[in-house]
Symmetry: none
Subunit: 276 residues, 2 copies
Amino acid sequence: MSRKSAHKAIDLAAPVVVLVNPQLGENIGTTARAMANFGLSALRLVDPRDGWPNERARKAASGADWIIDNAEVFDRLQDALADLHHVYATTARPRGMTKRVIAPVEAGADMRARVGRGQRLGLLFGRERWGLNNDEVALADVIITAPVNPRFASLNIAQAVLLVAYEWYRQGDAADKLGMATDQLEALEAGLQMPGSRPATKAELHGLFAHLESALDAADYFKSPDMRPTIVRNLRNAISRAELTEQEVRTWRGVIRALTGIRERHERDGGERGGD
Amino acid sequence: MSRKSAHKAIDLAAPVVVLVNPQLGENIGTTARAMANFGLSALRLVDPRDGWPNERARKAASGADWIIDNAEVFDRLQDALADLHHVYATTARPRGMTKRVIAPVEAGADMRARVGRGQRLGLLFGRERWGLNNDEVALADVIITAPVNPRFASLNIAQAVLLVAYEWYRQGDAADKLGMATDQLEALEAGLQMPGSRPATKAELHGLFAHLESALDAADYFKSPDMRPTIVRNLRNAISRAELTEQEVRTWRGVIRALTGIRERHERDGGERGGD
């Protein structure tokens, strides 16, 4: 509990990120930022090359200070892993080891299941230049390898952290997602953003159809009576696909009135006109 | 074919990444690197702040030079989208627009299905500081919003590109990796039935927008200049959602001509008129 800051708590249940021998402070900072984006907060550093604390790390964290402030430093990887139950090592390539290799998407599901059973998890990331050595990988239970373009496979360390953290966060259950802004959640769930309006009823939509079609009749749009049913069906299909709101139906009826306005005025010699 | 380099081809079928008004060359470079990691190669820049080419971009690309070398620069976003059929805008927050919002995982499946049907796709990313404005979002068909910790939601531009590109790449072969219900997948893959026609390009769609808006201007539809941008955006959003085919765009332009026909005839004293 001593590791909590005022309002950005260190989540002791979420996986711990362990960076082995990180070389550039910038990369520690961008790692912290990626963790913050996806709900991870416990960071451990094993023998960081430039010592600790590191001002470059803080700057690159872009405000994820609670992660930087609470980072723990260890001399040896074994110590950094001591209190964890299950450890994932991320590597770019297969290592010729008899160890299970999974993709980030599977790791996300596996992490959620294990945390649900009360396990403490670690995510191991290697040095910028050459990753983890085989002895370090051997300390892990599972290898995570992201599916990457084999012709350009080098993932920056913060990007590797980002992908695994993303899968962790994305696959959280509803309770975890409560942390998501309500409007964001609702928009995702609704699929469509409909501010201040509701979907049009079919009656309203049919009113729009009828309005348009009678305007087209009046404008002599349908060249032949034979063609009219097909063309009408095509117009209705296109309109239906837009999934208009009630407000939008009214707007489009206003558009039709406006477009036909001058004709009507002309024909009636001074009828009403205008948009909504 | 002139856009191919010796051994790293520009993949003309994969989605195009469009950066609107990027400010830092470094971010263009790290975006190129993220694209290369996940099999994207076509990069378009709209009005990059520091001009182009940009040596900082090349350096930050860490070897993804074929993407930097083949990047195309445009003055206007509309021109950058002209030849595309379907465009995704990435935003951090809901925009109060009536537009479908999906997560990266769904975008990955949707992109694969559309590319399978021969569509050219665009992925729109905004400025570092404040993203895309509403008029820019209105030019897209769908919004992609990543599920991010609401207390720390700011994703670096290259990280946003990385997540979407990751979902594109990951979902490349086996759909069953999705964990998606089969009927859901089939529905995605079937998409819209477009017999005998192809999806409209953005240039064709923008032609329809311009036609409608100038007709509405002529009809004095916009009551005040203040309201015009919002109303135009709403009309464009509704039309975009319909995902019109090229044939349908021609039909709707015929509808506009028909509805305004007598005015045109009246004003031009005998101009052409009629539906398509």
